[in-house]
Assembly symmetry: C2
Homo-oligomer: 199 residues x 2
């Protein structure tokens, strides 16, 4: 028997597709949405549409932005000679919260992972190399996550970057190994920037 | 400093308003939404709009439905003489999963709670009494949650219903006291229907 009206079942299904949201939570969220005043629910839906329509990659660093160039790339106070390579846009926020890093970023949008069939050409590596040939970069900090794929990607990148004569560093293992950059606390992450080591 | 573009910050904020979603989870969900193909994200937004536009209360039992009368109220196989009173529409699903109950429902949309300033007139009690005077109801099962407000509401309702000469029962305490109807497993909930007691 169908317990729910189709639009409710559909909404529960949509919530269930989100990462980390199970069936019970999806139900709760869908019913919460249905009890909201209409304008609040439409505001939520509108925020999704807005974000999808107005957010694109920064053409330089591939951060998400609604501007031509993201605020970090266009910030005149940022050190143009240091580049921090991260896996995802949300890692930039983690780095920025430390107030330790004043350079620019490069977002890979993934890591090399043979298991997931992600090769070097599937992430923004070619774009990184192009940036390095054009710009006056003196150091590249490889801030991929300290897990297997992140380490492998860092080693791969280090080999590509070395020929440019650019200093290549890796965040110090202040971050718990096997962990996730996004969940590191500010102090640990700050320490890992201080203690970064040559690769 | 603003780390996120306004549409991203707005989307994170909207996710954060959902019950049980903290800031980190809201960030993850928002970024997940941004990495989805556009049509998938718009489908999600559309499901919210659709549900809000097409779902309304069943005029008889106040379940959520997209039809004139909800499928349970219009189901000719349902026992019209037994009424199960629940707090929320999602409680109907929990009851239906037991396959033990063949009667009709009445959704209160809340419980009496002096602390939250919810009085008898703020929930669908008047509508319940109207239904009882009109219809051929022989039994009312009070299936509000077994917490303080739920118990108090059940006792309040029992007093109102008694003068009609209708049998008034309460779910047996197979459900853990202080718990929540929604999270009860089918067998426990089925047992609590079997063992319901006179109030």
């Amino acid at each position: 028997m169908e317990y729910y009206a189709a639009p409710i079942a559909k909404l529960i299904g949509e919530f269930e597709k989100l990462p980390g949201i199970g069936h019970k939570t999806a139900q709760r969220l869908a019913f919460h949405m249905l009890t909201l005043p209409e304008e609040k629910a439409l505001e939520f839906a509108g925020a999704i549409v807005d974000a999808k329509r107005n957010i694109h990659f920064c053409p330089r660093c591939f951060n998400l932005t609604d501007l031509d160039l993201c605020p970090i790339c266009s910030g005149y106070q940022r050190d143009q000679t240091v580049l921090c390579v991260v896996e995802e846009p949300r890692d930039i926020l983690a780095m920025e919260r430390t107030h330790e890093f004043k350079g620019l970023y490069h977002v890979l949008h993934g890591v090399i992972s043979p298991q997931e069939q992600v090769g070097p050409d599937d992430i923004k590596i070619r774009e990184l190399i192009t940036r390095l040939s054009d710009a006056e970069v003196r150091e590249v900090i490889l801030a991929t996550n300290p897990d297997i794929e992140g380490e492998a990607t860092a080693i791969y990148l280090a080999r590509l970057i070395k020929p440019f004569g650019i200093r290549t560093t890796r965040l110090a293992h202040g971050i718990p190994v096997g962990g996730n950059l996004e969940y590191a606390d500010e102090i640990t992450l700050a320490k890992s920037i201080e203690g970064r080591r040559e690769l």
